[in-house]
């Protein structure tokens, strides 16, 4: 075991941190959110220049050749800076789907375009009735002469509005909760029959509801095997859990640093509040919780390459619970320690709080996974 980043990983973190320090202050971030896309096109190009948009892709696709560890480290830095660009949606989620299930041609075309910054994608799997159940898919795809016709609707698709292409799951056989019969399709976001309604989410990124009516796709747009899409969905979700666990650690680090700083400057009853033991112990608790969360983010990262599916699912669930609970505790404490100012929109801590709240329920919340874990107790 070795928990220290390698020299290459250290260089990567440093370069990302430098870039964010120069370009991603809280004030700058506000201007990015105000752009029409809800994020900065200039930053997206900069990510591409720095090789981040191909971070987990092989070099033959213009990628950096990194793995889950590199994604975790970059997501941690993104978490500290509250990055709003669709890195998770495009590179991690769609990227994982394509890497896992894509044909040679699909990988060549899509991964290369993502890496160079010319293609944004979104992963459109969740449906309104499904909550966190990955098999609950009622969007259907029916075979016809031209390939497949898609009908249905998807909800809270992260960055669905900004995407050029979508990865859409649909049922090609079986019943609503069946594991088999789910197929993934690559759908042009502007294809006839695709309607997107974008909205702000609580963390100041963008989500979209997407309806598909009579959307024609070709046979070449099938991603992976027909009916065997669930394994890919699971791989995408696992990658998402690992990446957002890293992001949560970054957010916790930022909240703890802000709280510590605030405790040194905020004077009450004639002394900085950081001199009071009750505040010190709360901040010690926040630190301990952050470190336990970091351990769990490492677990999730480690499990990306785990081949035994049961072991992988079990540990991913544990990581999701641990990281989610840790993030919630640190976020609530950070606002509490700040007092009134922590409640204000102008101050950053509340923005971290909201992102932590969103991360907690991406791909399933702690209560959901705790229930899954409870089923395995023997």
């Amino acid at each position: 075991m070795d928990f220290q980043p390698s020299d290459d990983q250290r260089l990567l973190i440093e370069s990302v941190e430098r870039m964010l320090a120069d370009n991603y202050s809280f004030a700058q971030r506000k201007t990015y959110i105000a752009e029409p896309a809800g994020h900065s096109e200039a930053m997206w190009s900069r990510f591409a220049e720095q090789g981040l948009l191909g971070l987990p892709f092989a070099e033959e696709y213009g990628g950096y050749g990194g793995g889950a560890q590199e994604v975790m480290l970059v997501m941690q830095a993104f978490g500290r800076a509250l990055v709003v660009e669709p890195f998770l949606a495009t590179v991690v989620l769609a990227g994982t789907a394509i890497r896992t299930a894509g044909s040679a041609e699909q990988k060549q075309a899509l991964l290369t375009a993502i890496a160079e910054g010319s293609l944004k994608m979104a992963f459109a799997h969740g449906e309104r009735q499904a909550r966190y159940d990955l098999t609950d898919v009622v969007t259907v795809a029916k075979k016809n002469a031209g390939g497949w016709v898609l009908d249905g609707s998807k909800t809270v698709v992260q960055h669905g509005e900004a995407a050029d292409k979508l990865i859409v799951s649909a049922r090609t056989s079986g019943e609503r909760h069946d594991s088999d019969g789910i197929t993934l399709f690559i759908v042009d976001a502007n294809a006839q029959g695709v309607a997107r309604r974008g909205y702000a989410t609580r963390d100041e990124t963008r989500g979209a509801d997407i309806s598909l009516s009579n959307v024609q796709v070709s046979e070449a747009d099938v991603l992976g095997t027909v009916g065997g899409g669930l394994a890919t969905v699971q791989a995408v979700v696992d990658a998402g859990i690992a990446a957002t666990s890293g992001e949560m650690v970054g957010a916790m680090e930022a909240m703890n640093a802000m709280t510590l700083e605030y405790s040194k400057t905020r004077v009450q009853f004639g002394a900085p509040i950081g001199t009071y033991q009750v505040v010190q112990h709360r901040m010690s608790d926040m630190f301990m919780t952050q470190e336990q969360g970091r351990s769990m983010a490492m677990l999730a990262t480690m499990m990306i390459d785990e081949e035994d599916p049961a072991r992988r699912a079990y540990n991913m669930a544990m990581a999701k619970v641990g990281v989610g609970q840790a993030g919630r505790y640190v976020a609530q404490s950070a606002v509490q320690m700040h007092g009134g100012i922590g409640m204000t929109e102008e101050y950053a801590v509340g923005h971290y709080f909201r992102r932590a709240m969103v991360i907690e329920r991406l791909f399933g919340d702690p209560a959901y996974y705790l229930q899954r874990l409870a089923e395995t107790v023997v």
């Binding site: 220290q4 301990m288 990262t301 544990m318 641990g322 229930q371």
Partner: protein, 401 residues
């Protein structure tokens, strides 16, 4: 970063597990499985088996009969040993006085005491705390006055675990009452418990057990050759010892063992007309403990692998305070789980009833014993620097306040 165990570490775990399975006396294992604390003879018997194998000197260098293991290997051993469940190595002998003598002892002290400590030919105890010096150790008052070739020791120690069984005690004494700072003027001496003038008085714990004692020193003569390190430099020794004490303090294997025992019990007791193990609330509680244990396990490996990478000589990692706090909270939570499974059967003290039974009743015995560790381990968040003190340490070391 490589977050997996190496093949060597995996093989090592197998080796440890197999050795414990094949060599741990069944009567000790069965006794502990029921939730009882090991008896003195159990601890001695098992440590001698381990010592014969060369596994007693856990953190000692090979030249003194130690294992020479990496910190990760040590952690693996501790986990496997606790989860077996087997008696833990005497911490006084193995993680306290052993490393202290190896670091600070004279050649003669090492030769005289180390082999006997490894084999528990001497049972050691720790004379640190005093009525007026608990978490604030430096305010200790027990005095040692040099007279010729002896120190004359007068004073009182308290919370001295297993002093009533001990052959020797390492004691912090004040040798210079006029020192500029309280920490200067303290010395670390080794005291034979058979020396005239020592009185040991039991303190009965809330679980009814006799583990703790008061130790009174009344003109106790200690040869100056039993001074460790230099006179008035005992605080350095104490700090070294307390730093060592913290590395294994998460006791994760013990927590796992308690959860396993609770699950065993939950299979046998009924709640609402079905086995408790089928109750979703119970299962969720176990699941939450599993999550917390996993997080602590990884945090622990982060600490020990950093220690190995620093060549085993790194500064005390502030994360070890996280291990102490989270580890003891978890340990306490697992004992709570056990008494909640025991339910109403946790309340009676069954000692005589159990003895009168012709056939052993494991469930009854485990239910009754579960309360013992629940009560006894309330001390876990108090000893080794209370959890509040750990947060003070974190405040300084991590927050810089």
């Amino acid at each position: 970063m490589d977050l997996r165990f190496t093949p060597e570490e995996v093989a090592f775990r197998e080796e440890v597990r197999a050795f414990i399975r094949d060599n741990l006396p069944a009567d000790i294992r069965d006794w502990m499985k029921l939730g009882h604390a090991p008896r003195k003879e159990d601890i001695v018997r098992w440590q001698r088996i381990l010592n014969a194998k060369g596994w007693a000197g856990l953190s000692w260098p090979k030249e003194w009969g130690g294992t020479g293991w990496t910190a990760i290997q040590k952690m693996i051993f501790l986990e496997e040993n606790q989860v077996a469940p087997a008696p833990e190595l005497s911490s006084f002998n193995i993680t306290m006085i052993g490393p202290v003598l190896i670091q600070f002892g004279t050649e003669a002290q090492k030769k005289r005491f180390l082999p006997r400590a490894a084999n528990i030919d001497d049972w050691w105890c720790q004379g640190f705390s005093e009525p007026g010096a608990g978490s604030d150790l430096a305010s200790l008052k027990t005095a040692a006055k040099r007279e010729g070739d002896f120190y004359i020791v007068n004073g009182q120690k308290i919370w001295t675990s297993t002093a009533h069984m001990a052959d020797w005690c390492f004691v912090l004494v004040r040798t210079d009452p006029n020192a500029r700072k309280r920490q200067e003027g303290i010395s670390f001496i080794l005291v034979d418990m058979k020396t005239p003038g020592i009185t040991v008085r039991p303190i009965i714990s809330i679980d009814g057990s006799h583990h703790l004692n008061e130790v009174f020193f009344d003109d106790v003569k200690v040869p100056v050759e039993n001074l460790v390190h230099q006179e008035n430099k005992g605080w350095d020794v104490a700090k070294f010892l307390l730093g060592n004490e913290r590395t294994g303090i998460a006791r994760l294997g013990k927590s796992r063992e308690r959860v396993n025992a609770s699950i065993d019990m939950a299979r046998q007791v009924n709640a609402n007309g079905r086995p408790l193990i089928a109750d979703p609330a119970f299962r969720q509680r176990v699941a939450q403990l599993n999550v917390d244990m996993k997080a602590l396990e990884i945090t622990q490996y982060r600490v020990v692998s950093a220690y190995d990478q620093a060549g085993g000589s790194g500064k005390p990692d502030p994360l070890s305070s996280v291990l102490k706090v989270k580890g003891t909270e978890l340990l306490q939570a697992t004992t709570e789980l056990a008494i909640d499974v025991a339910g109403p059967m946790a309340t009676p003290i069954w000692a005589q009833e159990l003895e009168a039974l012709n056939e052993p009743d494991d469930l009854l015995e485990a239910s009754s014993a579960s309360v013992g560790s629940y009560l006894f381990l309330r001390a876990a968040s108090i000893y080794g620097g209370t959890n509040e003190i750990q947060k003070n340490i974190l405040t300084k070391a991590v927050l810089g306040l």
